[in-house]
Symmetry: C2
Subunit: 107 residues, 2 copies
DNA sequence: GCGATACTTAAGCGTATGCTTCACCAACCA
DNA sequence: TGGTTGGTGAAGCATACGCTTAAGTATCGC
């Protein structure tokens, strides 16, 4: 799923879809590539569960699946929270002293 | 940055680091690959700003950068919120339509 | 029916990614 | 001092990825 979000074009597609549903060619329009390529990207997004699509007539309409986005968000959030909580428990002061203060000369 | 999180091994490293700082070989231990490969993954994570490292003696110590995680989290969160808000508006709109139509024929 | 539209599928191709090996340097320590 | 530990860097290789072209299918509008 992070794999699916890794590509800039796919993120742009997600961005577009966050503003509302769109057809495949609408998604393709701002992207400088073939419809074929867009469909392939779409397949990745759909495979990751980030996007759901449905075909009516000859038009495939796509929309975001908020639940999948929430799952990705949660994964990051949990790890961050874990790390930040740990940071707090140990005391920011010690950590500052020990790990951050030497950044001045190294970086 | 999503690119960096796309790889399962790198996510495992992030997972490990969320539990506390670790040296390169500590990170490598649970992973079935060469130290060399781990260093390369580490470079990707560091390049994405997800991890900061510092070398003391011959040991490189790694820790998560919560801020970068927060950035990724925010990107997802914003898109999800946008989409969900739209969803709500649609719900409200439909509800309103429903209400109006009932008022229309009821009164 | 017939051309245009909106995809769909398969094949191929160049490049990026993930990994290994090998050689190497810099601490640490007995 | 010399061996071991911890990490670095470059080269090479197999596979995955992103994209294109080309050919095909199903629908829509006239």
């Amino acid at each position: 799923m992070f794999q699916a979000l890794a590509d800039p074009n796919r993120r742009q597609m997600v961005q577009r879809l966050s503003e509302g549903p769109a057809s495949v060619s609408e998604l393709a329009q701002p992207l400088q590539m073939t419809l074929s390529a867009v469909v392939q990207h779409l397949a990745v997004l759909e495979g990751a569960g980030l996007v759901r699509t449905q075909k009516i007539g000859r038009v495939r309409t796509c929309q975001l699946d908020a639940q999948a986005l929430r799952a990705a968000e949660r994964w990051i959030s949990e790890r961050r929270a874990l790390w930040e909580r740990r940071f707090d428990r140990l005391g920011a002061f010690l950590a500052e002293q020990d790990l951050v203060s030497k950044e001045g000369d190294g970086a």
